[in-house]
């Protein structure tokens, strides 16, 4: 009898010590998390240490970005990066980093994860900060002497920061009921 009680007690302890469910997987290793893309939130969460200047960005842009985006970010195989401010409500809107992108953190996140197109992941954090600084400066959003880092970048207010609205669909009025 005591044996049965002990087994029942042991079972109860085992069951209560474990979370419910299938208990698959294991905790991720730090390397596994590091190998993922660095997802950057609009408030700057996830931005790494380091900093970059507009001047450093100008050099980097010429070496790594200009062949696709044009020497001044005017666009070629790669997207146009400059201009277009004031065009969004016109028949021919030009959507660029300067005219359309609502958050500067997105620029850091995207360059870091996806650029250069044929060698994504090539740039180190200070280089990404520099590239971001240069593109923002090309668009007249920051001054030539401003330095981009984890503190200053989330504070940059993009011109189209308030240009996005929630999805109102279904939004098309019915002309008439069919049948």
């Amino acid at each position: 009898m005591w044996k049965v009680s002990a087994i029942l007690l042991l079972m109860a302890v085992t069951l209560s010590a474990q979370p419910p469910g299938y208990q698959v997987g294991r905790p991720p290793t730090p390397e596994e998390v590091r190998d993922l893309g660095s997802a950057i939130a609009p408030d700057g969460t996830g931005l790494p240490e380091g900093s970059g200047t507009v001047a450093a960005g100008r050099e980097l842009f010429a070496a790594q970005c200009a062949r696709c985006h044009g020497p001044n970010g005017e666009g070629d195989v790669g997207a146009r990066l400059i201009g277009g401010q004031g065009t969004l409500a016109t028949p021919r809107p030009i959507k660029t980093v300067g005219s359309f992108w609502p958050y500067a953190t997105t620029l850091w996140d995207y360059i870091n994860r996806a650029m250069p197109f044929d060698r994504p992941g090539l740039l180190q954090p200070p280089e990404v900060y520099a590239a971001v600084a240069y593109v923002l400066n090309l668009n007249g959003i920051i001054e030539a002497d401003q330095v981009m880092d984890a503190t200053s970048l989330p504070k940059v207010k993009m011109p189209n920061r308030d240009g996005f609205v929630a999805d109102p669909r279904p939004d098309v009025p019915r002309e008439r009921r069919p049948r």
Partner: protein, 402 residues
């Protein structure tokens, strides 16, 4: 049947007319085997007949690793899309991933961060759903009414059976914290494509798929693991999924701000426009095809809605003056391609043909004019206007320019 369908005899006559040219070339066909000689031996994995030529179409590009390839809807029958013809949209090429080394990391605002192997994931209870998947930018050319044929203007939609694990099950394993309200999903392609997904919706219906049409999904569809958000624009269905990070805010990724947002005439852009609304298109007869003779045909096409079942599809053959109800292939599954059919006699008169879908929410597929009146012509994504094809007296079928 309310509207009458062609008899078996009539359908055979149609078949004979279409097949006649094939029979005429019988003796000269180099691909055909002698019917009295032994055929090919049994093989491990089938190829289609050498006579079948339907392929995806894609625009020539200096960067072929990014772009879209379009399903040949004009050659489609039934409701399933072969995995090999499923539409594709890539941003930095198709990675080759060893499933034995692939891991899904669930982290961020969870009680128990998890690293899962594919073996772990396949051990869990599975779910299987037939679903339509449509690119948010499908039919973008229709804002300018420029689609010459159904493949190029509607081919970024496909239907597959997906098998995987309910996302809610995995998030229960990881223990989502009360403050978590978004899931940041990231793929293992070179550009680490990322999207923000509202947690509440993801818990309701999202799944992590590893199977497509009865086998492991194709590399181009996300092998070995893909996020499936039923009814949402294709881009949110992150392929090669390797990270789910729970957060208390959307991350405003490039592909949900700069792209996949819908610019309105007032200069404001709609963001997080996930749902694909009800839509339909006639696949036969459609642009570029030719009716070989006068007589009875089966007019057919596909309808779907990201918000549920297709309730009915109506067809006009007189430019929208009158509409008749088409027959729908059963079973009509929610958020799945639904085939519609209508017997139609082509007597050599010019005809403007179109279909409109009504889904179970009562939503009626709008006209192109109504859509443009509401959204202008610069929103790119989520075009679902009624599509007219022009059937000319000589049997040729063309796009209707605006």
């Amino acid at each position: 049947m309310k509207h009458g369908r062609p008899s078996r005899r009539q359908l055979l006559q149609i078949g004979a007319a279409v097949g006649g040219s094939l029979l005429a070339g019988r003796k000269t066909s180099a691909l055909e085997t002698n019917p009295r000689k032994l055929g090919e031996p049994l093989g491990p994995y089938s190829e289609r007949s050498p006579f079948e030529k339907a392929v995806r179409w894609r625009r020539e590009s200096k960067t072929p690793e990014t772009g879209s390839s379009f399903t040949p809807l004009h050659d489609s029958v039934g409701t399933a899309t072969p995995s090999a013809l499923h539409y594709e949209r890539h941003h930095s090429g198709i990675p080759t991933i060893d499933p034995a080394r692939h891991r899904l990391i669930i982290h961020g605002m969870v009680d128990r961060p998890l690293s899962l192997s594919m073996t772990d994931i396949r051990r869990l209870p599975s779910v299987t759903r037939l679903l339509v998947l449509e690119c948010g930018g499908n039919s973008a050319g229709e804002w300018a009414a420029s689609g010459a044929d159904v493949q190029r203007s509607y081919g970024l939609v496909s239907g597959s059976e997906w098998t995987g694990v309910a996302l809610s099950l995995l998030l229960a394993e990881a223990g989502a914290q009360p403050r978590a309200s978004w899931v940041i999903a990231e793929g293992a392609d070179a550009c680490r494509m990322m999207r923000s997904i509202p947690l509440a919706t993801a818990l309701e219906s999202s799944m992590l798929a590893y199977g497509q049409n009865g086998e492991a999904m194709r590399p181009s569809q996300g092998y070995p693991l893909r996020l499936i958000n039923p009814g949402w624009e294709g881009n949110t269905n992150v392929k090669w999924l390797h990270s789910l990070k729970l957060t208390d805010q959307p991350y405003m990724a490039r592909d949900e701000t700069s792209k996949y947002s819908d610019l309105m005439p007032d200069g404001k852009a709609r963001i997080f426009t996930y749902a694909m609304e009800a839509k339909s298109v006639i696949t036969f007869p459609s642009g570029g095809q030719t009716l070989p003779a006068h007589g009875l045909y089966e007019l057919t096409g596909l309808a779907w809605s990201g918000r549920g079942r297709i309730d009915r599809v109506e067809v006009t053959t007189n430019g929208g003056r009158t509409w008749v109800q088409a027959a729908l292939q059963e079973p009509r599954l929610p958020i799945a391609l639904t085939r519609f059919r209508l017997a139609w006699r082509f007597d050599g008169q010019d005809a403007l043909i179109a279909s409109r879908a009504i889904d179970e929410t009562g939503y009626v597929q709008p006209t192109r004019a109504a859509l443009i009146a509401a959204r202008g012509t610069n929103s790119i994504y989520h075009y679902n206007g009624i599509k007219f094809w022009s059937v000319r007296s000589d049997g040729t079928v063309t796009n209707v320019e605006s």
